[in-house]
């Protein structure tokens, strides 16, 4: 609470509630789960495999790139949301087979096409009460990819 302690404690990077992110160690990415028995992959992370019911899945970093599965252009902002209308709500399919609900960044909503290649952007959404950087993610068109 004192000025001293806030100087001593550097801001941490923490994932926003409801998003599972691998932060800080090497390349940042979504964090999912992989079943050591059958290899199926899940996002968000879970404990029990939906394919083979194995209990205790391995945490894995997910691919940073994927393809647009589907989308819509939201024309009205929701109360409390950080994004301003119009914005693109999207489902992104990663090579692991999982589909990630997210929003698109750096894109003209009218030019969005199903199938376009996308990459993740992980960025600060806000600060929390302890002064930590609360991190969230979006996806944006892959540079050099089909857009």
């Amino acid at each position: 609470m004192s000025t001293e302690s806030s100087v001593e404690k550097p801001a941490q990077r923490v994932a926003i509630k409801g998003a599972s992110l691998r932060l800080g160690e090497g390349e940042e990415a979504l964090e999912g789960c992989r079943c050591p028995d059958c290899g199926d992959t899940f996002y968000p992370p879970r404990t029990v495999c939906l394919s083979c019911y194995h209990e205790g899945l391995d945490r894995v970093a997910l691919s940073r790139c994927g393809a647009l599965h589907t989308f819509t252009i939201a024309r009205m902002a929701l109360p409390g949301a950080f994004v301003k209308a119009p914005y693109v709500i999207a489902q992104v399919q990663l090579p692991e087979g999982v589909i990630i609900p997210t929003v698109l960044d750096d894109v003209d909503p009218e030019s969005v096409q199903i199938g376009m290649e996308l990459e993740i952007v992980i960025e600060k959404a806000m600060s929390d009460a302890e002064g930590n950087d609360v991190m969230a993610f979006k996806f944006r068109p892959l540079k050099g990819g089909a857009a």
Binding site: D40, L50, I73, R75, G80, A81, A125, A136
Partner: protein, 373 residues
């Protein structure tokens, strides 16, 4: 002990905006109408189910208590927009197995203004921050995928709403009793492409009541019973590598219902489906087997689901025009189909309707029913 199940009585409190009415008041109106329709007294009711979503603790008491306090077990059932059809299914299970002869379902909801938002916890998180919890957006994304895969057009979806409002104009219990043009639908405010405001079900208050009875008891009150013949419910199934299903495995459940009921989609004379947003009817025309996969758009565009068409859908206006007080909706669907099968649907009547299909979906599950006379 096994018995066929009869939809003996149905009743509605008119759907609309009723900010000054309590859920008890609306439930009483619907409940008394259903009792009168059934020709039974409240003290004949042996068990009750109160279907609602956001009406708080004690809703069963506050609704059934308006009709009487006879000591019967009353259970609150929640399955989001499919709450009262699920309550009817549990009632039907009990009657079919001889547990009760007369069971009453009251579905009721007073809704908060604003567009439906999806599943959420109480804490602000990623979906809130990103504006993802926008219910129309979920249907919009399914719609975009359908457009991408099958060439479906916005006009196809919009036609659903135009037709719904045309039907709603014939229904004195509907929230909107006014036809609107395709142009009106297409040019109303865009919410989430391709869904416009008039392609979203409205915010609605209302109540429905359904009295189900064993065939033996029902035959004392009617010579032309409408049977709740078959009912199945389910949740989304996970299949590795396949995209997520909607609120549940619609096609799988419809197939189960057809098999259990000994019929096929070609035998359905009238149908109620879950058009919370206009694309719903396009998807379901396919999933329920009325047209091949991908052809739902043109199928509806050509008028097949209108009254007088091959398979009239949502003759009462559907969620879009009759309104969608989420806890009461399933009961309203049953009400309309019972009226249709009795030949009591007035200006909305589908001639000689003998077999009806019902599809009601909510966050948490899907219900499919077959009704027959």
């Amino acid at each position: 002990m096994s018995s066929r199940v009869v939809v003996l009585g149905v009743g509605l409190h008119p759907f609309g905006r009723h900010p000054d009415k309590s859920i008890g008041e609306m439930a009483r109106v619907a409940g008394l109408a259903a009792l009168k329709d059934a020709g039974v007294e409240y003290k004949d009711v042996q068990a009750g189910f109160c279907a609602h979503v956001n009406q708080g603790v004690g809703a069963g008491l506050r609704t059934f208590g308006q009709l009487g306090m006879t000591g019967i077990p009353v259970t609150n059932i929640e399955l989001a927009c499919a709450s009262s059809s699920r309550a009817a299914m549990l009632s039907a299970d009990a009657i079919a197995n001889g547990l009760y002869d007369v069971v009453m379902v009251i579905g009721v909801e007073k809704m908060e203004r604003g567009l439906l938002s999806g599943v959420g916890g109480k804490e602000f998180g990623y979906n809130d921050a990103m504006g993802i919890n926008l219910m129309p957006a979920i249907y919009a994304m399914w719609a975009q995928r359908h457009m991408h895969l099958h060439g479906t057009k916005h006009e196809h979806f919009a036609k659903v709403s135009e037709k719904a409002h045309r039907n709603g104009a014939l229904n004195p219990n509907a929230q909107y009793q006014k036809a609107i043009s395709l142009e009106d639908v297409l040019t109303s405010r865009m919410i989430a492409d391709p869904i416009t405001l008039y392609e979203c079900s409205p915010t609605t208050d209302g109540a429905s009541a359904v009295i189900l009875a064993s065939e033996a008891v029902a035959r004392k009150h009617t010579n032309a019973p409408v049977f709740l013949d078959t009912w199945v419910g389910g949740t989304p199934e996970y299949h590795r590598g396949e995209a997520e299903q909607a609120e549940g495995p619609n096609a799988v459940l419809a197939q189960k219902a057809y098999e259990a009921g000994g019929l096929g989609p070609e035998d359905v004379d009238v149908c109620q489906i879950h058009d919370a947003f206009s694309p719903g009817e396009v998807f379901l025309a396919e999933e329920l087997g009325f047209c091949p996969e991908g052809e739902g758009g043109p199928f509806i565009w050509e008028g097949n689901t209108e009254i007088g068409g091959r398979i009239p859908i949502n003759t009462d206006g559907g969620l879009l025009s009759r309104g969608h007080p989420i806890g009461a909706t399933g009961g309203a669907m049953i009400t309309e189909l019972a009226l249709q099968l009795r030949g009591d649907a007035g200006q909305r009547q589908v001639p000689d309707a003998k077999t009806a299909l019902l599809h009601n979906a909510g966050i948490g599950g899907v219900n499919v029913m077959v009704l027959k006379r």
